[in-house]
Amino acid sequence: MANSGVMTSPLENVELFRVGPVPVTQIIVVTWGVMAVVVVFAALVRLKLRKKSPGRAQQVVEAMLNWLGEEIRGIIGRDPWPFVPLVASLFIFILASNLVAFISSFFEVVKPPTADISTTAALASVVFLAVPFYGIAMTGTLNYLKTYVRPVWIILPFNIISDLSRTLALAVRLFGNILSGEILFGVLLSLVPFFLPLPLMFLALITGTIQAYIFAVLATVYIGGAVRVVEKHETEEKTK
């Protein structure tokens, strides 16, 4: 417990065992654990799905999805339900991963998966691929490609750079926020192990929730930038 954070590099992974040539790190195990918890919870809610007299879990999930849908409607300004599956999945997975930080304050071995650049890079890549996917599916290939030369053609390279850099920023932001919380906690734990880390644990909960929300909102903003193009002249930013 004592030799936490500062001494060992937080950028390295602890290799637990190997499956053939593939090293299985602790991050992978925790990620699969988080996925299992989320999937089992979703499956249980799905099994008990009722139209009349919904159960407690179903009401919570419905309330959360409706809230996300309203948020997305506020940002994009059109029917949010095509976007809810992706954004909600990202939100729930990141939220669950970030909340692992709370467990990691008791068990040093369990690190939140989002404190690893590989996880956040994968999540950011999903958003990076989702933007052209939604753009092409909703506005057509030509209209989507036109967003790159808007407002003038000379802006094209900047748009491409912006696409790449915002993906990097998305990954690094989540990673840095969660990792900094972990490091802070490790340092404090090695200095004052009793009671003082307690507020930081709650801070980690708040930070984790806010970061999951921010990731979801930014993903929505990026997707919205690709799909809003067509009716820009009709609605003219009325909803924003």
């Binding site: 590099s9 390295e12 506020g74 690094v172 932001r173 990673f175 926020n177 921010i214 930014l218």
Partner: protein
């Protein structure tokens, strides 16, 4: 002065200088958002959402500095030792 010492010093300087700008920027953003919310409480939801997104954007500058200093400490420093 060894290169490792230099890496530690530069890492400290990076995070020290690099957090000044985002701190000032976030303070200004929060102040402006509070003022806007006080003037127009109806738009509090929209303002809060925009505030969170802008704070995340501003904050990423500090996160980059954190990353650079961590790379200096754990990757670049040991390279020369």
């Amino acid at each position: 002065m060894t290169t490792e010492m230099l890496a530690v010093i530069v890492a400290g300087g990076t995070i020290a200088i690099g957090s000044i700008g985002p701190a000032l920027g976030e303070a200004r953003t929060a102040a402006a958002a509070l003022e806007a919310m006080a003037r127009q409480p109806d738009l509090a939801g929209t303002i809060t959402r925009t505030l969170f997104v802008s704070l995340a954007m501003i904050e990423s500058t500090a996160i980059y500095c954190l990353l650079v200093s961590m790379l200096l400490l754990f990757k670049v420093g040991p390279l020369f030792s």
